[in-house]
């Protein structure tokens, strides 16, 4: 590998890490959204029961 390719690799690794972090956060956000919807459903069920 040439020196320029190593530089591209180093900057590429940083970019991949940031993108990976964004993907993990997006997955977490979807899970939180699902859980919030479940809880809202549970609360609505309780409200209509009693």
């Amino acid at each position: 590998m040439s020196q320029g390719q190593y530089v591209a690799l180093a900057y590429g690794v940083v970019l991949v890490f940031v993108l990976l972090w964004v993907a993990i956060m997006a997955a977490k956000l979807s899970r939180l959204q699902r859980e919030t919807a479940d809880l809202a459903e549970m609360a609505r069920g309780r409200h209509s029961d009693g």
């Binding site: 590998m1 020196q3 530089v7 180093a10 900057y11 940083v14 972090w21 939180l32 809880l39 609360a43």
Partner: protein
């Protein structure tokens, strides 16, 4: 402006600064006379390493505050800073390793104190997560994790000074008592990169903290409703 509203603005500022840092580091800064083009890794590697130290330091500071005045939120803040520290620590090791291979022909050197000490610091904080997830949630876990985070902070000055005190010369010392050993343009590119990486780490910290707090609140809500 409230702190909630400032987060998207900070995220845009971090993205803009990162873009500017890449342009300055790769296109504007002059090529180093000794190392050639591989020296351009320096503009991201060093700010990432400094940010990792700062994240571990802030994690320890929050841990100290937790032990001092208490508060569940400080446990979450300390945990989030340490999480950020391990992300930037991993990036420090990877970018440093690539730089070493490009400049000196080796990926790693076990006889280099500063490299090994940074690895020890990184692994120490990786073990923090094993400790955290092996103890039941509650005040006991908060205290144990806080004490562990505080112990780790002692490694930061050792790791930082090792770069200056090391007897081998594989790891360069750019900042000396005489000031930065680089041109003004190079130093400007370094400062912009440092600001960009620091801001990125802060934005990531804030986003993760919001996620962890929401997670914790939802768990409590689920327990209350069930």
């Amino acid at each position: 402006m409230s702190s909630r509203n400032s987060l998207p603005l900070l995220a845009f500022a971090a993205a803009g600064l990162l873009g500017l840092a890449v342009v300055l580091a790769l296109l504007v800064a002059p090529e180093d006379a000794n190392q050639g083009v591989s020296q351009r890794i320096f503009y991201f590697h060093v700010p990432i390493a400094l940010t990792a130290y700062a994240c571990f330091g802030l994690g320890a500071w929050k841990a100290l505050r937790l032990l001092w005045v208490g508060g569940e939120r400080r446990d979450l803040e300390s945990y989030t800073w340490i999480h950020q520290g391990t992300i930037f620590g991993a990036l420090t090791l990877i970018t440093g390793s690539i730089w070493a291979k490009a400049s000196w022909g080796v990926w790693w050197n076990w006889s280099s104190n500063q490299l090994v000490l940074f690895l020890v610091l990184f692994l120490f904080y990786c073990a923090y997560f094993m400790l955290r997830f092996s103890v039941d949630e509650g005040a006991r876990r908060e205290r144990i994790c806080a004490v562990y985070a505080l112990f780790g902070v002692a490694l930061i000055p050792v790791s930082f000074l090792a770069i200056r005190l090391a007897s081998d010369f594989i790891h360069p010392t750019v900042f000396t008592r005489a000031g930065p050993q680089m041109t003004r343009t190079m130093f400007m590119a370094f400062l912009v990169s440092w600001a960009a990486i620091t801001l990125l780490a802060y934005v990531m910290y804030r986003v993760e903290l919001v996620g962890k707090r929401t997670d914790s609140n939802l768990r409590e809500l689920r327990e209350a409703l069930s």
